[in-house]
């Protein structure tokens, strides 16, 4: 009976992994096909079912007319994601610490209301924000610039950072801050010297969320840019024309998710070392 259950479990997991991995495998095999192989029906095994071609990958790294510019979108995406995540993480962590440790009162508005205000920014469907953001960036002359996108993405990512960090700080006993103050720290020193070093696991999680959401966003990257600035998701989709070069598009998509895969592996290593668990007591 137990054996049967075990086999069933593994079968289910296998099915699920196939389901998850399939799009990647599909992209991978497509990136090595040429026009003939793509239109010739569903084929999966190179050399046997189709003749592999490097044309898709080559187009990403050629500088001439046929080549596709990936460096520009890559740099823009990286700049926007890293800057917006950093600003969100710094401001969000400070806000979360304040909300976790001090009591604020503005008329009927209390800590929980301020927290909800932050999180409500994510509850709202993004389409609601598209027109206001567009008009505001236009006013500031920041449409189609990296700086404008950093501003918008900070507004989108900060709620995530605040949310994750409030929860994390609430899990750190306030005796830790109190002890630091008894030991001679001012409240701000207590935060930087004692609470922050203990919060690295939380910061990693919050940072990871910010990077993933920032890197993957298509909607605002699409509505707020035209020609000067282009982020990866938009650049990939823009390959979709009357004759779509599926080979280049697949290769491009695979390259664009590579940084996230690398981050996932680093964080996984970090987690397995146990640095992310049992920070307190």
């Amino acid at each position: 009976m137990f054996r049967f259950y075990k086999i069933l479990k593994h079968l289910c997991l296998l099915l699920w992994s196939a389901f998850v991995v399939f799009p990647f495998l599909w992209s991978l095999s497509t990136s090595f096909k040429d026009a003939n192989a793509i239109t010739g029906g569903a084929t999966y095994i190179p050399w046997l079912e189709y003749a592999p071609s490097m044309q898709g990958w080559a187009s990403l790294f050629t500088d001439n007319e046929q080549g596709i510019n990936i460096a520009g979108p890559f740099v823009d995406s990286a700049l926007v994601t890293i800057l917006a995540s950093l600003v969100s993480l710094i401001l969000g962590t400070l806000a979360a610490y304040g909300l976790s440790r001090f009591e604020y009162r503005m008329g009927f508005i209390k800590n929980s209301d301020i927290t909800f205000f932050f999180i409500s920014q994510r509850i709202m469907p993004p389409i609601v924000l598209a027109i206001p953001f567009f008009l505001m960036l236009k006013q500031l002359d920041l449409l189609d610039t990296v700086a404008g996108l950093v501003l918008v993405y900070t507004a989108l990512l900060m709620p995530i950072a605040v949310w994750v960090m409030i929860d994390f700080f609430n899990g750190i006993p306030k005796e830790l801050d109190e002890m630091a103050m008894i030991d001679g720290c001012s409240p701000i020193e207590a935060f930087f010297r004692v609470v922050l070093p203990n919060s690295i696991p939380g910061l990693v999680v919050a940072g990871m969320f910010c990077v993933i959401f920032g890197w993957n966003d298509f909607f605002f990257a699409f509505t707020l840019t035209f020609t000067q600035t282009q982020l990866l998701p938009v650049a990939i989709v823009s390959l979709n024309s009357s004759v779509t070069p599926w080979w280049s598009l697949s290769a491009f998509a695979l390259i664009s998710i590579a940084p996230l895969v690398v981050i996932a592996f680093i964080v996984e290593k970090f987690m397995s070392k146990g640095s992310l668990s049992g920070a307190i007591r």
Binding site: E175, L176, D183, E189
Partner: protein, 362 residues
């Protein structure tokens, strides 16, 4: 090092405090002399920890003043008070080594590296932590972590006071005794004032020069362990201090003469309002069992014998009357349901009017 004075101090966690019930700490006046050991003793929720947090500055009192050596520090930030505090559960800085933990208060106060090393080594030696100094603090056991918390208080030689908030809860009994002895020793040698919060009377009585008994945010009595034992100012202290607690027997007031049924006790006193409640307090340690014919404090029946090792606790019942407890070493010769006589040294009986001591007969 400083004398600590709490002047008309009161605190309420409710900002709109109106009635007395709103106060976690009712108005009180206390002076703690420099270099002595004190214990705050009382049941949970009686305001002990609040008082400690006010002294260390973690809580700002809603009324009154806090003085260190006559200087008002009521609004001074925690970091400027130079107080050490040890919480009930060990608080350590997980990201640091044991040595860094011990050095932290000195690093915050910008001591030189040489001084820091000297002090840390000294404290580590005192607390038997030397071999653990280079280890990560989070790898240690709970009682070792608590030693680190304590050590962080001891590295500052000029600390005003060490406040201990039930720090021995997580420490096993053998170690508890040892640590208490060590704390006393440190106090005697360095003259640092120490305040221990506890709900364990043995801990309080063996540790402190002076014990402050609290209930419901009020100081019930403050004095040496001996005074608390011999002359509890009210029935709460009599009941709270001592094991088993003090016996209280109801007294009848007959025009200025107080009598206790079944015991033959009577006492004449002046000015006794007839509507007040009177009771007689006797420590179980002072009651003696005698032959029936020699009984000076009535005759009673033994209804329970509890052997607690070398001593026995005998519960007796007067005929149709109240129960009374007695502590004796001769409990082996007593039998359940036996009728015995009782006697009591007259100077050990205490009379309480509405739960407050009015006569001690000494």
């Amino acid at each position: 090092m400083a004398e600590i004075r709490l002047k008309n101090l009161a605190h309420s966690y409710n900002p709109a405090h109106q009635t007395e019930q709103d106060y976690a700490l009712k108005p009180l006046d206390l002076t703690w002399e420099d270099g002595k050991t004190y214990a705050l003793l009382g049941p949970s929720g009686c305001g002990k920890t609040t008082m400690l947090n006010i002294i260390s500055g973690l809580v700002k009192p809603s009324e009154g003043q806090l003085l260190f050596d006559g200087q008002d520090v009521t609004s001074a930030p925690t970091s400027k008070r130079n107080i050490a505090q040890v919480f009930q559960f060990p608080v350590i800085y997980n990201t640091m080594s044991v040595a860094q933990n011990l050095a932290f208060p000195l690093v915050c106060r910008k001591y030189s590296d040489k001084d820091i090393k000297f002090q840390v080594d000294k404290v580590a030696d005192l607390l038997d932590l030397t071999e653990y100094l280079p280890m990560a603090a989070k790898k240690l056991t709970a009682d070792q972590k608590q030693l680190i918390s304590l050590g962080r208080g001891l590295v500052r030689e000029d600390v005003n006071a060490i406040l201990l908030d039930e720090p021995l809860t997580v420490i096993d009994p053998q170690m508890k005794f040892e640590l208490r002895r060590k704390l006393r020793e440190i106090n005697k040698r360095s003259g640092i004032t120490m305040v221990l919060v506890t709900h364990d009377q043995n801990e309080a009585m063996t540790f402190a020069d002076e014990v402050v008994v609290m209930q419901d945010g009020r100081v019930m009595q403050s004095g040496t362990p001996e005074i608390l034992f011999e002359q509890p100012q009210n029935t709460f202290v009599g009941y709270f201090i001592g094991s088993p607690p003090m016996n209280f027997l109801p007294l009848k007031n007959d025009n200025g003469i107080l009598t206790c049924d079944h015991t033959g006790f009577s006492q004449k006193m002046d000015k006794l309002p007839s509507k007040d409640q009177y009771s007689l307090g006797i420590r179980p340690e002072y009651l003696k069992i005698t032959e029936q014919q020699n009984a000076s404090f009535g005759i009673a029946k033994i209804i329970q014998i509890d052997d607690i090792g070398i001593d026995g606790i005998i519960t007796l019942s007067f005929e149709d009357g109240p129960h009374i407890k007695l502590k004796t070493r001769d409990h082996k010769s007593l039998h359940l349901n036996g009728i015995v006589g009782l006697s009591m040294p007259p100077n050990k009986s205490l009379i309480y009017q509405n739960n407050n001591l009015i006569s001690s007969n000494i």
